[in-house]
């Protein structure tokens, strides 16, 4: 068998992607479509007192101009995804004259061509009554709001901190960041006889369908969301962005298809972003390195219009054995577009501070940072005393140290120098990501011609879902790889799960697994019993016949089953809601504590004179349960690690505090890694199925790769230079000392 679980099967979608045939949202043709262009607010808070669209309306080719004055449709109640809805924000632009953040959509021009729409959108004149605004959580007038429900106390951390011989108390900050997928946000909408067809890059076609149906007051079946490929999501395309609603509305009014491709600069404000954070971490230990107290207080940037919190401390609290644990969460509301999920939303920023503090503790103790972590490995979840479903962090560190050559490290900062004079720094950090799952359905048709079609509305964002879903079915049915077909990203298919929180393989993969079992059982019933072995039905008497022969005898020429899977902790009602397009997730903390783990290592090279930093190589060893496809999983993890390198050294959405707006809103100003920034990247995945997590034994892969990397790099920079930088990005000016 060449296409089953654990094999490095070639990406099923690769041929279409390298030939240019793969169609992304903005690639679908819509006959006679009109084009839209946005105008966004130049102020950050206030009201629109005058909006003059006359010139734009007179411009060549213009069909319609939408503003808050012209928008009067009665719309169904939808809301922010984190409040149980499907929208990126609870505020829908053009529904009032209020301006809540800079870059808010204030008008939409529709014209016959792209060029006409863009030109006309610049002819709209707007007067504002501007109010003072704050877009930074550091602004003096901002108040920190504690979230008491997120507090955790075990023992008495403050008391332990007061009496322990070695302590660390430091504050770390991370900036706002943007997803910046290479595919721009884009929406094409068309109404055909009361039914809405939408092409939009989406990590959640079922949620998008349900949300649009609610807004437009039509049955969910009458909304078709098609999106077979997503050009990078990273969380930014998980929810319905407001412009999608506006484009669908414009298309209905005009009776014509309308297409919008959002300009890169507007991507910073018409969607969501990773909010800034501030973490105070205090650690205490005995002189032998036994940790006696862990305290982590995180404040996260939120929005005035929507409360958003990414509570990382419930994860960091569980990293090390400590009798005393104290964590707190709070948020700071700012005048910005609603922040949202971005790759490891809580963990990536939160682990930066936390894992730098662990390194600082190792330095204070004069102890090896790997040894310190290993010494404090908890046998059970130190907060709730749950057993781990699996936790092989110590093995990850051991293997990672070996792969990396950690033993070559001399602890003194600046003590390692390369041949060309560059300062060498070695650093490491722990990575962890909760492993959740949710309900999903799948359909499998196995036909007499040997072809097996797996269909579900899950998503492949480059994560490998097209490949792994087929492998899970092939494993059960013994179908050769070239006869497996997979359909995803279409709301007319059986309900897959949102591509978020690293849940796709565990959830939709489990659904494919149980459905494949149902197909197998039906096949064996049709064959009159026996076993399915490598695509052959082996009857109790030992005789073998190809499964396709049995299928040919079925009247339809195929067997088709639709199956559903849900985690135990999800009720039937939650499952129904989830399958219809609602959000339904199990927690990582159920009967067991279920997390993916990783040990991450970085070597940096620092120019001794210029103090520029280069990531020379990275090593990551991960415990992510069973790996369905090592090839796609490795790419995903390596991509996450490179995100971590960008996080550490490059990424920051600069906030102009005076104007309360994002400043560097293009890809020349918002830096993430180029090819030249990345040296060697080594990824290894430990063997091991975690069947306490789900029937196929997987934990999440998509997000953990980024989690420990920023701290590993910051720790390596310290090791190279002796300079402890407690912020990201670490820039040349931070090291010019």
């Amino acid at each position: 068998m060449d296409g089953g679980i654990g094999l490095p099967v070639t990406r099923r979608d690769a041929p279409g992607k390298v030939s240019g045939d793969a169609q992304y949202a903005a690639d679908f043709p819509h006959a006679g479509c009109a084009y839209a262009a946005l105008t966004t607010s130049s102020i950050a808070r206030g009201r629109i007192v005058r909006i003059d669209t006359a010139q734009a309306e007179r411009a060549a080719g213009v069909q319609m101009v939408l503003t808050h004055r012209s928008l009067n449709e009665g719309l169904g109640e939808e809301t922010f995804a984190m409040k149980g809805g499907h929208m990126q924000s609870s505020f829908l632009p053009l529904t009032s004259d209020e301006v809540h953040y800079a870059g808010q959509i204030v008008s939409l021009v529709i014209a016959d061509t792209q060029e006409q729409a863009e030109a006309a959108s610049r002819l709209i004149a707007i007067d504002y009554d501007a109010q003072p605004a704050s877009a930074s959580m550091d602004d003096g007038d901002r108040v920190e709001k504690p979230l008491e429900s997120k507090s955790i106390d075990v023992g008495n951390a403050n008391a332990a901190l007061a009496i322990s011989p070695v302590t660390i108390d430091a504050t770390y900050v991370t900036p706002a960041q943007h997803h910046n997928p290479i595919e721009l946000y884009a929406t094409s909408a068309e109404w055909r006889e009361g039914r809405l067809l939408v092409h939009v890059p989406s990590q959640w076609v079922m949620g998008t369908r349900m949300g649009l149906a609610t807004i437009f007051g039509i049955p969910a079946e009458d909304v078709h969301v098609e999106c077979p490929y997503v050009g990078g999501g990273f969380g930014g395309k998980a929810t319905i962005l407001p412009h999608t609603v506006l484009i669908a509305m414009a298309a209905r009014r005009l009776g014509r298809a309308v297409k919008l491709v959002v300009p890169r600069e507007a991507m910073f404000t018409v969607g969501s972003f990773r909010p800034a954070t501030r973490s105070r971490v205090r650690l205490a230990a005995e002189r032998d390195g036994t940790i006696t107290a862990v305290s982590h207080e995180q404040a996260g940037q939120s929005a005035t219009i929507d409360h958003v919190s990414f509570a990382v401390t419930e994860v960091t609290a569980r990293m090390y054995a400590s009798p005393n644990i104290r964590v707190r969460e709070s948020t700071v509301a700012t005048d910005v577009n609603t922040p949202g999920f971005q790759r490891a939303p809580a963990e990536a920023p939160g682990f930066f501070g936390f894992e730098c503090a662990v390194d600082e503790l190792a330095v204070a103790l004069g102890m090896d940072p790997v040894a310190l972590r290993t010494k404090n490995e908890p046998a059970r979840d130190p907060v709730g005393n749950l057993a781990w479903s699996s936790r092989k962090l110590t093995e990850c560190f051991a293997r990672g140290a070996e792969l990396f050559g950690w033993s070559r490290r001399t602890p003194e900062p600046g003590s390692m120098v390369a041949e060309d004079g560059a300062l060498i720094g070695y650093g490491c950090a722990t990575a962890c990501y909760p492993s959740a799952s949710g309900p999903s359905a799948a359909r499998i048709r196995y036909s007499a011609d040997g072809v097996c079609i797996v269909s579900l509305s899950a998503h492949d964002l480059g994560t490998g879902a097209y490949t792994v879903m087929g492998q899970i079915a092939a494993e059960v049915l013994g179908v050769p790889n070239h006869l497996v077909r997979v359909q995803l990203g279409d709301s007319t298919l059986p309900s897959g799960i949102i591509a978020g929180g690293s849940v796709t393989t565990s959830s939709s993969g489990s659904a494919v697994h149980v459905t494949a079992l149902a197909v197998r059982d039906a096949l064996l019933r049709a064959a009159g019993g026996g076993e399915l072995v490598d695509g052959f039905v082996v009857s109790p008497d030992g005789s073998r016949r190809p499964a396709t022969e049995v299928l040919a005898e079925c009247t339809s020429g195929f067997i088709e089953e639709t199956g559903v899977w849900k985690p135990d902790s999800i009720s039937d009602k939650q499952m129904q809601n989830g399958l219809a397009g609602g959000m339904a997730f199990s927690s990582a903390l159920g009967k067991y504590a279920t997390y993916s783990f990783g040990a991450q290592f970085a070597e940096v090279r620092v120019d001794p004179l210029l103090r520029t930093v280069r990531v020379h190589r990275m090593v990551g060893v991960f415990d992510c349960g069973r790996i369905i496809n090592p090839r796609t999983a490795r790419s995903n993890l390596a991509g996450g690690m490179i995100w971590g390198a960008s996080f550490a050294l490059l990424e920051e959405t600069q906030i102009d505090r005076k104007r309360a707006r994002f400043a560097n809103t293009d890809l020349a100003g918002y830096h993430f890694s180029t090819n030249a920034d990345i040296g060697e990247v080594v990824v290894e995945m430990l063997d091991g199925s975690d069947t306490l997590a789900n029937p196929i034994g997987t934990k999440g892969v998509g997000e953990i790769g980024i989690v420990g990397m920023p701290a590993a790099i910051a720790n390596a920079v310290y090791h190279a230079t002796g300079v402890r930088v407690r912020k990201t990005p670490i820039q040349v000016e931070d090291l010019l000392v």
Binding site: A14, G20, A26, P181, S635, G639, D666
Partner: protein, 156 residues
């Protein structure tokens, strides 16, 4: 408003178009010729996803007016495979090395990679990294992209 008669030579075929002079080569390909293999990631020259060959050299289609491209040989990702459909060795190498994830930057990467080898800028991994840095990949498939190009360069 001026309407221009523009004759574009794309992948060896001649197309006569009537265009608004503002139309970029990228929009002419995508919106007028339906050649959506060339992707749009910024429209400002900052990402590389719109990379095509103009008279045999890689360029960014978003910063070229369609009118300026008239009379030049334009090659896009759709024109890379052999006439019988056999993928170009670079396309095959990208598949073989898993040099893509979401695939959105991929046509631009491949067009750029083909030039990178033709220009003689693929002699070492570091040289490939530098000469491929005009193609951002947010999924960060960089290590595999380098491996795919090095492979093709070795064979060439």
């Amino acid at each position: 408003m001026q309407t221009l008669d523009v004759t574009l030579d794309v992948n060896g075929r001649t197309h006569s178009l009537q265009l608004d002079p503002r139309t970029t080569l990228l929009d002419a390909l995508r919106e007028h010729l339906g050649l959506t293999g060339t992707k749009v990631g910024c429209n400002h020259g900052t990402c590389g996803s719109c990379t095509v060959h103009v008279d045999g050299r890689r360029q960014l289609a978003c910063l070229v007016l369609a009118a300026s491209a008239a009379g030049r040989a334009v090659r896009t990702i759709e024109g890379l495979a052999a006439a019988d459909g056999t993928p170009h060795p670079m396309q095959a190498a990208f598949v073989a090395h898993d040099a893509l994830q979401c695939g959105y930057c991929t046509p631009g990467q491949i067009m750029s990679a083909v030039s990178c080898v033709e220009e003689g800028h693929a002699r070492t991994d570091d040289e490939i990294r530098e000469y491929m840095s005009g193609n951002l990949c947010r999924c960060a498939a960089y290590p595999n992209i380098v491996a795919a190009i090095a492979d093709v360069a070795r064979a060439a």
